[in-house]
């Protein structure tokens, strides 16, 4: 059995933080449209991408997530006018920092999905699941230390 085969049998656990006004509704449209996408995501609904504290993302990894997806409204479409734009700056820095530290590379993804984009939502989940599946289960540091 190759590593790829092993990963194919393993189902990643992905935590998805979805904005209530767009991406969460986008997930609904995907459901209503009976679109198929991997059952790898655990959705957490948040009022806005701007609500997402970087700590939510770190906590998800700390509690054993293999991947984290953050999805908000397209720029210009924020229900609160600019929540997603402020969040974009934060996410850009967090993603780069974690990459710099050699952590969670390929496991943390950001995207925009609107309420009508059920197809895009399904595609996003497909893509993220495939990427995380390729990486295999997240390596966690053992407890203890000195």
């Amino acid at each position: 059995m190759t590593d790829t085969d092993k990963n194919a049998a393993w189902e990643p656990r992905i935590v998805a933080f979805l904005c209530n006004w767009c991406s969460y509704a986008g997930a609904d449209s995907a459901g209503v449209g009976r679109m198929q996408y991997p059952a790898s995501v655990r959705v957490i609904r948040v009022p806005c991408a701007g609500r997402i504290n970087p700590f939510f993302i770190l906590s998800a990894f700390r509690r054993g997530a293999d991947g984290v997806l953050v999805s908000g409204c397209h720029p210009g479409d924020c229900h609160y006018i600019s929540g997603n734009l402020g969040a974009r700056r934060k996410f850009a820095l967090l993603g780069r920092l974690l990459g710099h530290l050699g952590l969670e590379e390929g496991r943390l993804h950001f995207t925009w999905v609107s309420a009508s984009e059920g197809v895009r939502f399904a595609e996003v989940i497909e893509t993220v699941t495939a990427k995380v599946r390729e990486l295999g289960p997240a390596r966690r540091s053992a407890g203890g230390g000195r």
Partner: protein, 322 residues
């Protein structure tokens, strides 16, 4: 001007400010209790102003001691002044409450670098003349220029002269912003090696919070790390909790960190937190064109946004909307 001359000018200035009532307290440095150390001191009586000194070991960031509403004078090098700029911007301080006694800085000497340079010598005393240190304690006195034993943050300093200043003392020094060679060198390592380096640094952490408490910009009245409801990060030294604490602290300082290196110098076990903070500073400069502490009027990059911000990191599978 040499250290001794500056020391007496600082002392005279402090005594004047206190007796004229322009400041309730003068925050400066006095001689430390061990070799190669100066220590922060808070002077309230003009008669004590003579304790104030200036030398190559005045490495703490004194902006940490500014208290809102207390009229204070502060002996500020480049990094202290940068912190004051940010504190004023965040309305933690009123500019008119602070008298900045500005001292251009040639960089501070790092006792660890000195120990590496002269292994086996237990320094018992030190003299400083014109940027040259003479160290006693070995079989023979040894000399080294301060510029060769600087703290890492001082080698990489972008603004050595006070950015804001009310009472300038000493001659300005030539600025030489070296950019971010440390960040580039670290980024050039393979991801596994970077991760291993980070894990090795984190394994030294005691969770004593000296980094946080020494930081002039860690001004939250209650820190997320101390919160039990909700408990953002578990206490104790599980490697992932330690890492989560440091990543979160770095994120809280993104766009605000003035790169003074006080956290690194405060750490009793020498955890190199610059790996976190310098990367964020480099990214903030690249993405948002902003460097904390250098411009009193620039908005804070994480309290601002633009429609045109880069979003090349946004996942876009296949198809563009619209």
């Amino acid at each position: 001007m040499n250290g001794a001359g500056l020391s007496s000018r600082i002392a005279e200035t402090a005594a004047r400010l206190l007796s004229e009532g322009r400041a309730e307290v003068v925050i400066g440095f006095e001689q430390g209790s061990i070799p190669m150390r100066a220590t922060p001191c808070l002077i309230t009586d003009p008669a004590d102003a003579g304790r104030l000194i200036w030398n190559a070991f005045c490495s703490n960031n004194l902006a940490r001691y500014l208290v809102p509403g207390r009229k204070s004078a502060i002996v500020a090098k480049g990094c202290d002044s940068r912190a004051i700029v940010e504190l004023v911007k965040e309305r933690r301080l009123k500019r008119e409450d602070v008298v900045v006694i500005g001292v251009p800085c040639r960089g501070m000497a790092d006792p660890s670098a000195i120990a590496r340079r002269f292994p086996g010598i237990c320094v018992s005393s030190v003299d400083e003349t014109d940027g040259m240190l003479t160290l006693y304690g070995g079989p023979e006195p040894v000399s080294v220029p301060v510029s060769e034993v600087l703290h890492a943050s001082c080698r990489l300093c972008a603004a050595r002269n006070p950015v804001i200043c009310d009472i300038p003392l000493g001659d300005p020094v030539v600025e030489n912003d070296p950019g971010f060679p440390d960040v580039e060198a670290f980024a050039a390592l393979p991801a596994d090696e970077r991760r291993a380096r980070v894990e090795a640094e984190m394994s030294k952490c005691l969770r004593c919070y000296a980094c946080r408490n020494a930081c002039p910009l860690c001004t939250c009245e209650s820190c997320f790390a101390d919160s039990s409801q909700p408990q953002w990060v578990a206490r104790g030294t599980h490697p992932e909790d330690v890492l989560a604490f440091h990543v979160m602290r770095a994120m809280h300082l993104a766009g605000r960190c003035v790169e003074c290196g006080a956290c690194v110098r405060a750490c009793p076990t020498g955890v190199d937190l610059s790996i976190f903070n310098r990367r964020l500073a480099a990214d903030v400069a690249e993405l948002f064109g902003s460097r904390a502490g250098l411009d009193e009027n620039a908005p804070q990059p994480l309290a601002a946004y633009s429609m045109d911000d880069s979003q090349d990191f946004i996942l876009d599978p296949g198809r563009k909307p619209e």
